[in-house]
């Protein structure tokens, strides 16, 4: 990024009408654009055919939408998506929400927020209650996100918990999972802080973006206003180590404040906020209709 600055020396004040100075050896439009486009994955400066897209752009959008639609339909496969090592290290297992299949999951978020009776029995039997940190992995709307991010983040969270002397609950996975499942986990296991790692709805650019929702002592009836969020965990978004650092810092804040959600604000410096590889904190107040 410092390279970007050095390539644009001495921009005069009031540069709006500086075009007459173009005789000097100044960076070309193309040079400026090639530096700046590195700062965003957005589809900027793509050109046009009249007021429409160029054909190549049109078809690229079409291909990406097709990939996203296909990603939504994929089902969670514990060994393939989390990896044998991680499954064995943590003794991971999968339980179901109250949804019977993917179609019901898409149409009935209320069922995706509840653990099935069988799931509740299994969790009670397998997971010691009262952990300082309980991690749950949910497929959400992208198994691709779980496959690409969850195993690493889970491992790093366990290490971070150990380094702080926190008890780390027996983690597990929930198939056809919505964010509201946090409340059932809280009611069942009474952990201090629950972190739900869940696949975000695929975008066109990224089908593998993971979110981490935090809740302090979640209970039935809690809403997103009582949750914190670190989102956009993927290759060009929030890196794994940065995500884990932020999740752990938020967990510490929640434990200190004995609450979570809107009352707990993550603090990051403006310098950090201006850098693409170290984005800021989560958005606790939900926009309408995330994986909710």
């Amino acid at each position: 990024m410092s390279g970007a600055r050095e390539s644009v020396p001495g921009v005069p004040q009031g540069a709006a009408h500086a075009s007459t100075t173009a005789m000097r050896a100044e960076p070309s439009v193309e040079a400026l654009e090639s530096v700046l486009v590195e700062h965003t994955p957005a589809r900027v400066l793509v050109g046009e055919a009249g007021d429409a897209y160029r054909t190549a752009t049109q078809l690229e959008l079409r291909r990406d939408h097709a990939a996203a639609r296909d990603a939504v339909r994929r089902e969670l496969d514990l060994h393939a998506d989390l990896g044998l090592d991680v499954v064995q290290r943590f003794g991971l297992f999968v339980v179901d929400s109250c949804c019977r299949d993917k179609d019901e999951y898409l149409l009935r978020p209320d069922l995706g927020r509840r653990l099935s009776a069988e799931a509740q029995d299994r969790i009670r039997g397998m997971c010691p209650p009262g952990a300082d940190l309980q991690v749950v992995v949910g497929d959400g709307l992208s198994v691709a996100a779980v496959a690409a991010q969850a195993a690493t983040v889970l491992g790093m969270l366990a290490d971070a918990a150990a380094a702080r002397g926190w008890t780390f609950g027996q983690p597990f996975c929930v198939r056809h999972c919505r964010v509201g499942v946090l409340n059932d986990v809280g009611d069942l296991l009474a952990p201090e802080v629950v972190v739900l790692l869940i696949g975000e709805r695929p975008g066109l650019r990224y089908a593998d973006s993971l979110s981490a929702y935090l809740a302090y002592q979640p209970r039935a009836g809690h809403t997103d206003a009582e949750r914190n969020l670190v989102c956009n965990i993927h290759e060009r978004g929030v890196a794994h180590d940065a995500a884990v650092a932020r999740i752990v810092a938020l967990a510490e804040q929640c434990r200190a404040a004995r609450t979570s959600g809107i009352a707990v604000k993550e603090e990051l410096s403006a310098v950090t906020a201006a850098r693409s590889n170290e984005p800021g904190a989560p958005a606790p107040a939900p926009t309408i209709g995330r994986v909710g």
């Binding site: 994955p41 957005a42 650019r205 060009r236 906020a273 958005a283 606790p284």
Partner: protein, 469 residues
């Protein structure tokens, strides 16, 4: 009160107003999810038949939600103009529909302040898609902040330059790309990935600096939680428009972490801040609200009220704060609330009509997610329908792909095409600026101007890191 009617020999009874309104709704997966939808098409038609004969007075006098338990209901009662409503009291819902569609200018005799959200929702349920467009087109709602939105012949566009990691240069590059398409008159509005006060402040400072440096007659906004924006304001960030997502019940607003008092306090603080800044404001409309059918149900805060009526109640909240912009994010919520393109199109037309009827400067984020049965052609279709209905503004997202929120909206290209197709122009102050800067020539986008492009691109470095150059 209970109602019943017989349709083709079958008797249909409706125990209360909530039930009647819910069953009269056009089909929405969200109403089915809530367990309140009509069980058959005949029951839906029967409910519409009963609703058509209902005097408006019933909808005003029988609150759907007890004001003692819901502050939105109290606000709606307080802001309803009973004197303006008096001449309409004895009209039925069916008669109101005809009045809104009649040729004799009777729509002027229906002032927004006479209409309560339940009436707006009820009449929408009796309208066809074309009715919703025809009626809405007659209702222009003009608002002013740093420019003037909503006049006849004007179509505004919000530049939505979101970035998954809030990289300020990336945000500014998307913004410049949009400006070069003539977009950004409604607002340059960023949904931040982060809710940190520092990040929100950095975005607001950068957008503010771009607007100041280029003397752009538009508004900027960072769509964080209202409390975060106010904290940034406290630390010196410039705020043109104060944003918040809102819904139609107290409990749903609580799930967004907002109260009516907080909105009121926020508006007062931003108005005071505008006076202190002394910029070239042309009006006092400083709020920006987003809504969407299904949000109350999503928060389990709908109290058995259908999603269309909940949405109308959100507009009732919005108008109490004199907003500059209000838009439904109509396809964002997902298939459990709006199942497919057909339902999204219907909801978009309903939302725009109800907002206009209630006096709001209504725009629409025409959009869809990747888990719903819709695609970019769905957006094209609804965009054309809403433009013909006189919608105040749409979104401009690079290639319609929001790389932060992960959904598809409408693009800078779409904005240019729709303006050309309907002969619409940007807000007048902004249109003049586009001409002065050579981005437009005689009302049309001018051919690529390399010097201008370079100047705008170089400005990014200046405003991304203030004091660095």
């Amino acid at each position: 009160m209970a109602w019943a009617t017989v349709v083709r020999g079958e008797r249909f009874a409706f125990d209360d107003l909530r039930t009647l309104l819910a069953k009269a709704n056009e089909e929405k997966s969200g109403d089915r999810l809530a367990g309140i939808a009509a069980r058959s098409e005949s029951e839906r038609a029967a409910a519409k038949t009963v609703l058509a004969d209902l005097p408006l007075a019933v909808l005003v006098d029988e609150p759907l939600l007890d004001p003692a338990h819901d502050d939105v209901s109290r606000l709606l009662a307080r802001t309803h103009d009973a004197a303006a409503f008096a001449p309409l009291r004895s009209l039925t819902v069916g008669e109101l529909r005809e009045r809104l569609l009649s040729h004799d200018g009777a729509v002027d005799a229906v002032p927004p302040r006479a209409i309560v959200p339940e009436v707006a929702a009820a009449v929408a349920k009796l309208m066809s898609n074309l009715d919703l467009m025809t009626a809405a087109r007659r209702m222009r709602r003009v608002t002013r902040c740093r420019n003037t939105m909503g006049e006849p012949g004007v179509l505004g566009i919000r530049v939505q330059p979101n970035h998954p990691a809030d990289d300020v240069r990336g945000i500014l590059l998307s913004t410049v790309d949009g400006l070069l398409f003539g977009c950004g008159d409604a607002v340059i509005g960023v949904n931040p990935a982060s809710e940190s006060v520092a990040t929100v402040g950095a975005i607001l400072h950068a957008l503010g600096a771009l607007v100041e440096r280029w003397q752009i007659p538009t508004q900027t906004c960072c769509l964080a939680h209202v409390s975060t924006q106010l904290a940034a304001l406290e630390r010196g960030a410039p705020i043109d428009l104060l944003f918040q997502s809102i819904a139609g019940t107290e409990a749903a607003n609580a799930s967004f972490g907002v109260t009516l008092d907080l909105l009121h306090e926020g508006r007062e603080r931003v108005l005071a801040h505008h006076r202190e800044r002394g910029d070239a404001w042309v009006g006092d409309d400083v709020m920006y609200f987003e809504t969407g059918q299904g949000s109350a149900l999503s928060a389990e805060a709908h109290h058995g009220i259908d999603q269309l009526t909940c949405e109308a109640r959100a507009y009732g909240v919005a108008r109490a704060f004199s907003p500059f912009l209000v838009n439904s994010v109509v396809g964002f919520i997902g298939p459990e609330y709006l199942f497919d393109e057909r339902q999204i199109v219907r909801a978009g037309l309903e939302d725009h009509f109800m907002g206009k009827l209630l006096g709001l400067p209504m725009g629409v984020d025409v959009c869809y997610t990747n888990h719903v049965a819709a695609d970019q052609n769905s957006c094209d279709n609804l965009l054309v329908l809403l433009a013909s209905a006189g919608c105040n503004y749409f979104m401009g997202v690079p290639c319609a792909d929001d790389v932060m929120l992960g959904y598809q909206s409408t693009s800078f290209h779409d904005a240019a095409a729709i303006r050309a197709l309907f002969g619409l122009t940007p807000a007048p102050e902004f249109a003049r600026w586009l001409e002065e800067r050579g981005i437009f020539r005689d009302g049309r986008r001018s051919a690529s101007n390399a010097a201008l492009r370079r100047d705008l691109l170089r400005a990014i470095e200046r405003v991304a890191l203030p004091g660095a150059a």
